[in-house]
């Protein structure tokens, strides 16, 4: 299944985290969410948010000026 995309480009932290959080709330466990960000802060904030709230960080990668963070929705959110 292709991941749910959250476009957080041009948003500064903590907005990308908020966008991911609000999207994740509506999704069933196991769903993957791919956040596309331009604020490099998202590379540390979204993984921290995952650790705290029980979601799984699948990968982070940099593509040019964009940072992609893939998250899997945890059991109880």
């Amino acid at each position: 299944m292709s991941p749910v995309i959250v476009d957080a480009r041009r948003l500064l932290c903590p907005m990308p985290v908020i966008r991911v959080q609000n999207r994740v709330k509506e999704l069933p466990p196991g769903t993957r969410v791919e956040a596309i960000c331009t604020d490099p802060g998202a590379l540390s904030d979204i993984p921290a948010w995952c650790r705290i709230n029980g979601h799984k960080l699948i990968e982070t990668r940099t593509e040019g000026n964009e940072y992609i963070i893939v998250v899997e929705v945890g059991e109880e959110s």
Partner: protein, 347 residues
């Protein structure tokens, strides 16, 4: 069996809210954190924008605090609703444009709504009697409890012994004896408690938790309201106030000039919303014009921007002007001299 009691802690990212949550956690209460994003939070933004700051390890302090405590953190976007607090604070402003008392009341009110929705029992804040001149005074702390509607479900563990007993104390969910009686502006008791808890590396923001306490920022915001003839702002406005040099050569427009590459890149993102100027004959900043401008205004702005380019001593500097519809025009101007830029233009 008695029910597991639950509390939500207002987490700003600073030390006090961290300690307050910890004190209650240690009493066996299930604690989760809530953090409000107003748009003015000091977190991240400027660091994310300025190139020179990018190499520094940066973190979101509210997330960091939650991780230290091992609690969940709910971040709530209150940007839209918060405007009314900034624009019309019933209790007025503090030293700058910080509506601290209204802000606290609003946040506790939101937390109170949140606990009702989520089946939590009470609210924790890191407030300390006498710590802050406006919102954390002996006479204003009860105002926060009352006007937020939280009443005796609002617990301030760091100053609890100086305040009337709250519902969780009366019901025996928490013990008053294990609360603290901090009082006044000193930070020493908090630092000692942090040490006792083995906490290091916590954030200690100077002044307040948001840009509204920053004198320079407040001047820029007040200037914006005055120029527009009304108190009003959008998210883009408040973001742009954190970036670049702001100069107002004429009452009806101002020029935002990037100071370095990171800011230039950030301003690039606004080129569809503002007329922009970029020097082409010499290395130089990207500038945005805020206000409705005519050809004379653009020419003046171009001379000003040229002054901040490498060509400031040159006879002529060339620039590209990009209009709102994307159409471009080349200009060749003589840079203003330092004497031609009055100090009053700087906001």
């Amino acid at each position: 069996m008695t029910r597991q009691r639950k509390a939500v802690a207002l987490i700003s990212g600073g030390l006090d809210s961290l300690l307050a949550a910890k004190v209650i956690q240690q009493q066996g209460i299930h604690v989760e954190g809530i953090n409000f994003f107003t748009g003015f939070c000091v977190e991240g933004h400027t660091h994310a924008i300025r190139q020179k700051d990018r190499s520094r390890v940066k973190r979101n302090n509210a997330l960091w605090v939650a991780e230290q405590l091992g609690i969940k953190l709910h971040i709530v976007d209150i940007v839209e609703e918060y405007k009314d607090i900034v624009l019309n604070p019933k209790h007025g402003y503090g030293a700058n444009l910080n509506p601290c008392l209204d802000c606290k009341i609003f946040m506790v009110k939101k937390a109170h709504e949140w606990i009702a929705e989520h089946g939590f029992d009470f609210i924790i804040t890191g407030e300390v009697v006498g710590q802050r001149p406006m919102s954390q005074r002996k006479d204003t702390m009860p105002v926060v409890a009352r006007e937020s509607g939280a009443e005796d479900r609002l617990v301030r563990p760091l100053s609890g012994r100086n305040l009337p007993a709250t519902l969780p104390e009366r019901e025996g969910w928490i013990s008053r004896d294990q609360l603290y009686g901090f009082n006044g502006r000193s930070r020493k008791p908090q630092m000692a408690l942090a040490e006792q808890f083995g906490l290091e590396d916590y954030a200690q923001p100077a002044g307040g938790c948001c840009f509204l306490t920053d004198a320079q920022y407040a001047v820029k915001l007040a200037d914006l309201w005055q120029a527009r003839g009304e108190k009003q702002y959008e998210m883009d406005d408040i973001m742009l106030l954190k970036v670049g040099r702001h100069l107002r050569p004429r009452p009806h427009f101002k020029v935002i000039i990037s100071r370095e590459e990171g800011e230039g890149n950030f301003l690039q993102g606004y080129r569809k919303q503002y007329v922009s100027l970029l020097t082409t004959s010499h290395a130089g900043p990207l500038a945005l014009l805020d206000g409705s401008v005519d050809a004379d205004d653009i020419a003046l702005a171009a001379r000003l921007v040229a002054r901040f380019s490498q060509g400031k001593q040159a006879e002529r500097v060339e620039l590209t002007v990009t209009a709102l519809d994307g159409s471009q025009q080349q200009l060749s101007v003589k840079p203003l001299t330092a004497e031609e830029i009055p100090q009053e233009w700087y906001i």
